[in-house]
Symmetry: C2
Subunit: 615 residues, 2 copies
């Protein structure tokens, strides 16, 4: 019925995020009217994920229960997927305009009995004569419409030419505007930027949760879905293509144009998203020796991909660097251009998968690390994606240990009672503030002898209350528990360890500059990130949150073909470091899990207040 | 129910060839059980085409009567389309082999953890290293299958490369044979030649009546069908594409290969067939200034055309010369190469449309003339296409005026009683023999005072009996009537006049050589053709019937890419003469309608016996 339901495990019954309550149609083991079994019986997976109390109250896992007849289902607030606040806004980047597709207005000489060359030859001659375009090919579906289009406005037409090589669209009369679509396919979020190819301006954006989330929240789950289901790849490919067609339609509608007015498109995404988008088998990405189907960029006709933009349009898919460093990272590269800088730059692209680039004009290396879904708010007891109701900013008074928070979708701090959980930036804030206030120690352990009503013991260990039940819409205290902190430590430790190993690889002692990219990168509090040790020490004014740099890269490639060439060159030059193959990784990683680190010094954090942790 | 029914007018109710007899379900105005009207009432068109007697007997036009319920229909023998004897056999032509598609066997190095470039880059590297093929592109559907195909036979694959430019197919292991399909789309007959691209050998042929015949027997009727019906073009395009897929399947089955093993294809056809095949609007071909959609050759992906050969394969459509001189004529050109000859050559391509080429290495001109359907046996009272039952050869004894004939599908002369009508070559024979025997005069008029039981007066004027009712399967005398001779005169007169005007254009007095091409060209008796004056005087040993030269051209272009280039050059060089625009055409034409001509002398016909015509 169109109600989106949370899922992390991709329908395997192992994450328990999709709990729903059956109101009518099933009483199972506990009900009185047990003949009304319009649902399958509770299975083993559900018994593990649901407490006897929940089972008694009619809770089921939406991914496991099969419907055999009419049922009434209540979707609890914590299970429903809110409308994601997509943080992939387009940022202003000055781009030299040199698009792949240009429009030309042509007035042709109409044929006579003594001048009867073919319509296409007539157009070709005019393009050659007045615009110096020679040796042009014509896309077949364009040829198919050519004769009638050129006669509609009395032999006056506007021709869209791709790469000075091929006529990909023809329209009657004068049409001034040409549009292109830059696409960023994230594991979790898909964003499109509709651009005016003549001004470079972003005229509309649209975004959605990647519809493949239904098949698994992370890359590994999706690869495994493609392996275990015969039509797994096809289903996921169709889902993303359908989603992109929707987004293209939405963006076009906002700009008051037709979807078929879009004559060019560029796509970035991590290697797995890239493969599924291209209908390439992702299974080899997930197993040694981790080889991908194609590294190089490729131009594919929109119609061959099933994309419903102008049928003759080419879709340019940016190159990938390696099986775990994808076209999204190449997008970041051409947007940030570390290869033009003298400064030693670390770029971290924070997402469900963490990707890192380190270097400068002399040399660039890249790596990726499995951060897990903690940064996206998953794997966290009250974790949520950045949707309305998610706590995104948290401040803890170091003296009173009182808490202030800000909820996505609400304007002010601590207003209303709409909190449903905590998203990634909120978790980072919470942990940084807990540490700064001396409530957790360097190793992440909760203080055991603190007199604070918010800190309490539960059956799962100590937990700290961020929002009291009365401040929420779920009527429960929202807490950060010990396990949440452990999960965040794994994620940030992986990032830090990756950076450290890469620095050692290049013989670098100090970072001049840190760029935090990623769909939610711009919203992470850079001080909190520094406090928990998401990255090695660096002066705070040289830490930048650039937002969705991968999407910016897609836009840059859309607007300038030289950058497409640059992308291929850079994708080849960047050296990929396989972190898991480093013998010291385990040790570096375990040290990096401490806040901010077990041993490293952070001279630039000295000014920050920090309580001595009471044990 | 799959019974093919004759049609010339394309379902307009004006040719009367589709008469069928209703046995049950309709008694109309004459029947007793008039409540059983499972057919629409007899309309105006039918009243014109059916005699009252025929109406009484239950005859209807199949194209006009609409079925509202169960009916039993008898299809008379003269209405049924017999299985066409397709005369588009492949002829042996020595061709230098240089096909567009070549297969290469490659053994790749499998990836390791330290060598993880993309699968496509791995293949590219190997193709570059061992075969010196660089800068190759890969077709998207091939990329889609690449990963799994290369792993199937342990990194050993066979790659099909088009024009040293693009990988269009990839198969596991070693595959030696590569196949291509040469296609000749005639107005009436479609023929395909399946060729081994390594040896040039024709491994299988298949042919069928052009399924567009249901929409009209000639080019003009089909153009008008495309104009008057909204989905007219689409229907005809789908019909030919479906037909070609059937033929490709038949040829592949004969050669024991799969249709998808066909990796290249070339197509010839007259400009209208060319346009409908490409789904281009043919309406502008039919009206002044007669401009076509494209003249140049074009390569289109088979999948974009809906052709079910290898999906990555390109279809090469040969260029057209003008709106009425098509790619079939270009095929004839590259097969016969008049541009390499010193002799002054006239090439006549005899079909539903007549096309002429005149010239030598110095200059070439082309024209086309509307011969009408007489050469195909249509527009003739007992005319039939060259199908079983058609009289194809006729001899008339000049003394006894007795007739011998040979029927298509029967081995000997005057055997059996299976004659159903007369096909084009039979008509030419009949008229030549009638003229030689003095039964018709130079102007085509029947002798009025001849004492011969076969020559008799009918309400339509005099007629000559070729086959007595007892020698036929239709229980009627098969005759040649005055109107038949007039129709043939129009057809041959147009050809002759075209040749004459072209000769005058080039200042040529005498022809060194005449080549009769065309699907049935090889079956016309060249002496009969000379006697009726199908072309100007020429020594008989220099008249050649070469059969389907257009199809031969398609094969040549399939096997040698240089000939594709030559085809484009020649299509540009040939000058097109618009015969209808010549002020003298009317006079030249009327003189050319005489047998063999009103005024021209035919020194090379002097040896032939000829009776003085009794008046």
């Amino acid at each position: 019925m169109g109600v989106d339901i949370e899922s992390i495990c991709g329908g395997k019954g192992t994450c328990g995020k999709c709990k729903v309550r059956i109101e009518e149609g099933f009483w199972g083991n506990y009900g009185i009217r047990s003949h009304m079994d319009n649902l399958s019986p509770i299975g083993e997976a559900e018994k593990k994920m649901l407490t006897p109390r929940q089972q008694h109250d009619g809770y089921r896992l939406a991914c496991q229960a099969r419907i055999h007849g009419d049922v009434v289902v209540f979707v609890p607030e914590e299970t429903a997927v809110g409308k994601q606040v997509v943080r992939k806004a387009a940022r202003e980047i000055p781009i030299k305009l040199k698009p792949a597709v240009r429009k030309y207005y042509v007035e042709m000489v109409s044929p006579t009995l003594h001048d009867t060359c073919g319509d296409w030859e007539r157009l070709q001659a005019e393009l050659g004569k007045s615009l110096n375009l020679s040796d042009l090919a014509i896309d077949y579906p364009v040829l198919h419409r050519l004769q009638n289009v050129i006669r509609r406005e009395n032999w006056k037409v506007t021709v869209s030419v791709w790469m000075n090589r091929e006529v990909i669209k023809i329209e009657p009369g004068l049409v001034e505007k040409a549009y292109g679509l830059a696409v960023d396919i994230g594991t979790t979020t898909v964003a499109v930027y509709l651009c005016d190819l003549d001004t470079g301006e972003v005229v509309a954006t649209a975004s959605m949760i990647n519809p493949q989330v239904a098949y698994g929240e992370d890359v590994i789950t999706r690869i495994s879905y493609s392996v275990t289901r015969e039509d797994g790849l096809r289903s996921m490919n169709r889902a993303i293509i359908k989603g992109l067609n929707q987004l293209a339609g939405q963006a076009a509608a906002k700009a008051r144009i037709k979807r078929s007015d879009i004559v060019d498109m560029t796509v970035v995404g991590n290697t797995c998203m890239h493969h599924i988008f291209l209908n390439l088998d992702p299974q080899y990405l997930g197993r040694s020796p981790f080889s991908s189907g194609i590294h190089h960029s490729i131009d594919v006709k929109a119609r061959d991909l099933g994309l419903k933009i102008s049928p003759g349009a080419y879709v340019h898919i940016l190159p990938v660097e390696a099986s775990f460093v994808g076209a999204d990272n190449v997008g970041v590269l051409i947007a940030e251009e570390p290869y033009h800088q003298d400064d030693m730059v670390l770029i971290i692209d924070v997402g469900t998968n963490g990707e890192l680039i380190l270097g400068n004009r002399d040399r660039l290396i890249a790596s990726s690390c499995a951060t897990g879904p903690a940064f996206e708010g998953a794997g966290i007891k009250y974790g949520l994606r950045a949707a309305p109701g998610a706590i995104e900013k948290i401040r803890i008074d170091p003296d009173t240990r009182d808490v202030r928070f800000k909820v996505v979708g609400e304007e002010n701090w601590n207003t209303g009672s709409g909190a449903r959980g905590i998203c990634g930036s909120g978790i980072i804030d919470a942990v940084a503030q807990l540490f700064a206030a001396g409530i957790i120690d360097k190793t992440g352990r909760f203080s055991t002898d603190l007199d604070c009503p918010r800190l309490r013991a539960t059956e799962d260990g100590p937990a700290f209350v961020i929002a009291w039940a009365g401040e929420t819409s779920i009527d429960q205290d929202i807490v950060v528990c010990q396990q949440d902190i452990r999960n965040l430590q794994l994620a940030k430790g992986a990032m830090y360890a990756g950076a450290k190993i890469m620095m050692r690889h290049l013989g670098v002692e100090r970072l001049d500059k840190i760029i935090m990219a990623g769909a939610f990168g711009s919203y992470i509090d850079k001080e909190s990130a520094a406090i928990i040790g998401l990255f090695p020490d660096c002066t705070q004014q040289n830490v930048f949150a650039v937002g969705n740099a991968a999407g910016a890269g897609a836009r840059i490639a859309l607007l300038n073909v030289d950058k497409r060439v640059e992308a291929v060159e850079m994708a080849c030059q960047v050296e990929y470091i396989e972190l898991a193959a480093e013998p010291t990784f385990g040790k570096v990683f375990s040290q990096a899990m401490w806040f901010p680190h077990m041993k490293d010094s952070f001279p630039h954090l000295k000014h920050l207040p920090r309580r001595k942790v009471a044990r």
